[in-house]
């Protein structure tokens, strides 16, 4: 694309210009009052506020019921971080998709597909290639395999104009079936020391006497990916166009944005982020399973909407999604910690999704909050 001309024409505002007290100015000052600012701040802080009360709630619960601390236990912090990885990885790509006005229901089984392909290829190539090379081959093939459902989703939605809900629901079935077929209906154990190291070890960042700060490698990888996604969404043209497409597809087309190509790229990005999720899952459990991401679809969509993205498209941030994923992890881990039956997790996450969407709808009617990164 050539650099656009930017020279501003100096307009002569001639005699048609009333000297002061412009009607437009009055309208402006009326619109941007402190109330708008407060509402916009609350809207962007929504997820943070929720996370805060959730943590306080579990702390009180743990104190009252078990006379123990929930918050000030480093083991809990580390566990919550690991719990966050799965939902967050799926939610990163999902955030882009939701901002564009779509939804990707296929991510869970795309993750499973990647986990199965990764394990299979790793096992096949370890006999014939040196371990590190086998790992690289397995990584590349698994990522390519996960990109395929994304590409097909993108083509269906961008070119054939299939509604995202239906296109990706179909792909949910297809990816699921293929993952189970490839795995022969079972899980595939792997034994590559590097992979299990990545999946289960922590890096010590700081060590002073007894005081140590260490981060699970899985979490570290996820942080790096998250930073890359924040950058892509908030700093690149692609990210900006994702917001524009979700806000007004027609306007984006008329502004010369290649909506078709961007839409395809979005769904590939979503599938790749699910693929990485599948690979990290395999590393954590040293086995690939077709159902690796089965329960994570709900979690990932929950993370995105709790994080402030609107299912109508046009708004959302990665930072919000990270908080959303943390909220999901805190709910899940917290309920385990206070000995509530695990199945309540599903109920809790489901309720939180519905509440988030309701809050979003109400807020949409009230405010002109900032909606992009």
């Amino acid at each position: 694309m050539s650099e656009p001309p930017t020279a501003n024409r100096k307009l002569q505002t001639a005699d048609t210009k009333p000297p002061s007290a412009h009607p437009i100015d009055e309208l402006v000052s009326e619109r941007t009052t402190w109330a708008t600012s407060v509402r916009s701040t609350v809207a962007s802080m929504r997820a943070w506020i929720f996370l805060f009360f959730l943590l306080v709630g579990f702390e009180i619960w743990a104190q009252l019921a078990y006379h123990t601390t929930f918050l000030f236990n480093p083991f809990n912090a580390s566990s919550i971080a690991v719990f966050t990885v799965g939902p967050l990885l799926l939610a990163l790509g999902q955030t882009f998709v939701v901002i564009s006005g779509g939804i990707d229901l296929s991510v869970g089984f795309t993750m499973g597909l990647a986990a199965v392909v990764f394990s299979k290829i790793l096992n096949l190539s370890m006999g014939v290639l040196p371990d590190p090379l086998a790992l690289v081959v397995a990584l590349v093939v698994a990522l390519l395999a996960s990109a395929v459902p994304g590409l097909i989703n993108g083509l269906l939605i961008a070119i054939l104009r299939v509604p995202p809900f239906i296109g990706t629901l179909g792909m949910y079935g297809v990816a699921r079936g293929i993952a189970y077929l490839m795995a022969g209906g079972t899980t595939i154990p792997i034994s590559n020391p590097v992979v299990s190291f990545i999946g289960n070890q922590s890096l010590t960042l700081l060590s002073i006497g007894d005081f140590r700060v260490s981060i699970p490698i899985l979490v570290l990888v996820t942080i790096v990916l998250t930073v890359a996604m924040v950058f892509m969404l908030s700093q690149s043209r692609f990210g900006r166009h994702v917001y524009a497409i979700g806000g007004n597809r027609q306007a984006s087309l008329r502004a010369g944005i290649n909506v078709t190509r961007n839409t395809i790229a979005l769904y590939i990005l979503s599938a790749l982020s699910a693929g990485i999720g599948g690979i990290l899952y395999t590393a954590r459990f040293t086995a690939g399973a077709p159902q690796a991401g089965e329960t994570l679809l709900l979690d990932s969509i929950a993370a995105v909407v709790i994080g402030g993205a609107s299912l109508f498209g046009g708004s959302g941030t990665i930072t919000g999604t990270v908080i959303g994923a943390l909220i999901i992890a805190v709910i899940q881990y917290g309920l385990v910690f206070v000995n509530v039956e695990p199945f309540w997790q599903f109920v809790a996450v489901g309720v939180v999704i519905i509440i988030s969407v309701l809050v979003d709808q109400t807020q949409k009617q009230l405010s002109g909050a900032r909606t992009d990164e």
Binding site: D25, T32, G247, R254, R370
Partner: protein, 246 residues
């Protein structure tokens, strides 16, 4: 006003299935001229400007711009050449701020630590400048357009169009959705554009607006050009008679 038209539409026809949206329509536009396009609903006004701006290709006839025959494959191509269009629905991304909208699809980039990143500051300051020369003040450039009034949004659409050095600016019903004070503002904007040498084609139902701002009036009815007159040489009665026929 110079002698050479900046834009010539010659004997253009456009059909949609059986509907003759345009039949053998010819129109010239000169630099610094405001041409009003009048006509009842379904007369073909929007189709005519879409043919000019590259949304539709004409079935017959030709379009010349700046002295040379042109075929715009898409609106982007027309914009690159200096034909900007403000559609009836404005085509703004209401979820994004003023700078993002002015630069939509042509975002400036800068490098930070070797990485290309959006140049938000440039978008903001240049958008502010574009609106300032139009004598429009918006004090919150970080809020999405959704929170702005109809007049401000219209101003952003105009600011976006003129920021790119348009030689021809096409506006489809720019005042239709506005209150009276905002309509006056848009009329003033069109006058200032005219003085800076832009050729403006302006569609309206509102005869008061048309007579307030245009130099020449072209009337369409059922896809045909049924009348054309210098604004000074005609009156509302004649225009209405052309519009409704008979």
């Amino acid at each position: 006003m110079s002698e050479q038209p900046i834009l010539r539409v010659q004997s253009v026809s456009k059909r949609f299935g059986g509907v003759h949206a345009l039949e053998n329509v010819s129109v010239d536009l000169f630099p610094g001229e405001v041409l009003a396009l009048a006509g009842d609903n379904g007369a073909g006004k929007s189709t005519l400007i879409k043919v000019i701006s590259g949304v539709h290709r004409p079935d017959e006839g030709k379009i010349s711009y700046d002295g040379a025959e042109v075929t715009f494959e898409n609106p982007q191509k027309a914009r690159e050449q200096g034909i900007e269009t403000i559609y009836q629905d404005l085509a703004l991304a209401d979820n994004l701020d003023v700078g993002a909208n002015v630069f939509l699809g042509r975002e400036p980039m800068k490098r930070v630590l070797g990485l290309p990143v959006l140049d938000r500051k440039k978008m903001r300051t240049e958008a502010a400048e574009a609106l300032r020369v139009l004598d429009i003040r918006i004090n919150r450039f970080d809020l999405p357009l959704r929170s702005m009034s109809g007049g401000q949004r219209q101003a952003v659409a105009i600011g976006r169009a003129i920021h790119w050095n348009a030689k021809v600016l096409i506006m489809d019903e720019p005042t239709a959705a506005l209150g009276v004070p905002e309509q006056r503002k848009v009329i003033a904007l069109i006058k200032s554009l005219k003085q800076s040498g832009v050729g403006v084609i302006f569609i309206s139902h509102n005869l008061v607006d048309i007579f307030a701002v245009s130099d020449r009036i072209v009337v369409l009815r059922r896809g045909q050009k049924v009348g054309e007159a210098a604004t000074q040489a005609t009156n509302s009665d004649e225009i209405v008679r052309w519009m409704v026929g008979g």
